[in-house]
Amino acid sequence: MSAPPTAATEEKLTKKALTADHPTWCPGCGDFAVLAAFYKVLEKLQYPHEKIVCVAGIGCSSRFPYFMNTHGIHFIHGRALPLATGVSLSRPDVHVFVFGGDGDGFSIGGNHLNHAARKNIKMTYVIMDNYVYGLTKKQTSPTSPVGFKSKTDPAGSIDRPINPMKQLLASGATFIARTHAAQVKHMVDTFERAILHDGFSVVECLSECVMFYEGSFDDSTPRKGGVFETIDESQHNVQDDIAAYQLADLPSPGKFGVFYQVQRPTKNALEQQWIEKTQATQNGQSGRDLLRRRLEGMR
């Protein structure tokens, strides 16, 4: 954990303080519940209001920052992670949260996910996975199951979907979890663990697109007759990547909870160490003097 919740803030972070514009999502969209859960976690953690930053790319889910009364930036499709990396590395004092969809994270931004994960950049990333492109009105996404009929696959998708948990395990992410927008308590707990993890934490959150993929998650929604099965951590060692891989291999709807969590130094910390090591040899010279000496070396 980078910074403990500060008691010293004069302003209490309430849902009211965190609420901005009314969400523009379709009524019934799973993303509402994700937003509600996030308010709850922030209310619990009580970070200083001004230190919270929400970052997103493009998509229905990526509209998230507008609905949060916090510092927020709505960037371009697929590049939220590198933007957040720039914020995180250059501002160790703020808490960086990234939100986005399955297309944004696994398709156009897929490579960034690999690199943010392997570099273990300090931030929390919530992927609101609806197995479809919502904003652009029903095209196949990299998580759409085979056979899913979309506007780009009218006869049913023929391409094998990715398995987000396996992909994240391979990428080197240090905190990997899966949750469900219909399970508010599970979401809140999972988000909280992710946020308290010191490193790159990713949560895939199944969040139904009622407009373009209704019923996508019925098999994991008990009130629709499905089963919501959580990971029993007395049986599953979260530090064991092979075990996590096996969990990820379970057929749909699979299990929910923390698949994997290990401690590895963040890039933030390693860069800071390098800075301190370098600066220790400089006898407190000012930047201007350092550069002056560098230029003198060219005489």
Binding site: Y66, H71, I73, G287, L291
Partner: protein
Amino acid sequence: MSQSAAPTGASERTLRNAVIRLAGNSQDGIQSIGGILARLAGRTAQDVMTYMTIPSTISGGPSIFQVHLGSGEVLHPGDESDVLVAFYQHSYDSHISALRQGGICFYDSGEVTEVKHERGIVHIGVPFTAATVEATGGSARDRGKNIFVLGMLCAFFQLDREKIAGILARQFGRKDESVLRNAMLAFDAGYAYPVGDHSQFVFEPGEHLDDKRISSDGNTMLAMGLIAAGVRYGSAYPITPWSSIMEILRTELPRYGGIYVQAEDELAAVSMTIGAAYAGHLAVTGSAGPGLSLKMEALSYASMAEIPLLVINVQRGGPSTGMPTSVEQSDLMQAIYGSHGDCPRIVLAPQDVEDCFYIALEAARLAREYSCPVIILSDQALSSRIEAFSEPDLQKHWIEPQLDLSPRAEDFKPYPLDAITRHAPPGAKMAGKYPHVSGLEHDEHGHPSGNARMHQRMTDKRRDKLVALSKSLPLPEIHGDQEGDLLLISWGSNCGQIKEAVNRLRAEGHRVGAAHLRHLHPMPAGLDRLWAKFKKVAVAELNDVGLYGYGQLATLLRAAYAEPKIHSICKTDGLTFRISELVTRSEKLL
């Protein structure tokens, strides 16, 4: 070699200028001795400009390093050389034609077996390899033959031996002792090698008496300028000829408390840099043409979201992988317009190596002041060229980076219509609502807005701030005649060349001037006043004339001013302009 008009009574002929071309293979260390000669020039009040070709293959190959030394101002790297040093037969064969009539050719007599006695060229065969092996005891094979040649040139031109020894000691002294000892042995052997009675050349005293002269290349000075400008963060992906800037920043920024990140690709690089900028820092990304293309979507974002951002593009031959180690200036249109939407941004180009430092400072100031992306268009010639100039005065040119986390008042708006955007970065307490930085068209508060009138007003806002900038920019000065028959205009690394071409044309009796543009977008308002008193204008630039017959800057000038007297002098052969080319092509317009 231009010699003084009347060296009366002197047994020595004094020189004002000499162009020395070292031709060998890239692994022979000709760049290193060329660099030493350039550095020496800086230390002996002389001026210098170098030019090198780099083989694009990794294993090396034929390469040249040309050094133009002069007691006065040196404006170009030299068309033809006065002295050729040929390490191999292939070097001799390729470069003997570029040696001037009556020039001097040193060649390795162990390698070059066929020489052509023509055009009064004086041939001096010296066994560089064998003599080096002999001098250094033969243990290191022919390593050090470049230093042998340096010693030979030092004696020939009666260069300052002490100072060269000092530079060698600095360069080799850090390695183990035997390395410096071998280098000095090779140097002394070259110095003492009898090359006949030609060794009577001595330079006039240098005229640059400033004791704080440095010599460096364009990429290094851009990096130094960025540091002086307060840039501490950024991200990039390697590509020739940009890479050395990111290597310097990666290595040196930690000393100043900063971080430079090697990203997975250019899309990530520009995004990380915008992230650091959004977080309140001045940050820089950079690339060459292909990488700049990959950054375009994010650059439009930065215009829309009004993020201050620095972008360096060190141009090379294109399109595509093109000629990655050759010079070209074909990214001007890409830099100004290469994005979706109407996305005004600032584009600047440094005119020489020294200017690389100052343009970085200016770019940083403009990015902060106008809250938009600023692209610095350098080019391959500037990136690797060495010049000597006065050391920048950091008392005057130093900006301490500041993160403005001051609390913002209740009425704070991220996108006011009546003022330039000043973002409130994360960490700033907001008395009112927290700001959203947005790439969707937005209202003053950053709320997404599909309102047609708002889009027009915000478009006006983003454009008008740069229109205001254009009115504050000074017109470039005209070198040479202030009125006449032809005004040569150029940008980027051609600055010295057009001035030298104008000097020669005027010496022939023509009435011509030269003007160089550093501000390419926006251009200074009222540029037409520059050429009002000239019959014709010729824009010299290293890009193609395209389908309509005009180079990229010429096209822009013609479009902006509907001025039919603007012509183009363009080429894309991967080389910088020769003075003779500019003179001949100007004469055709006269």
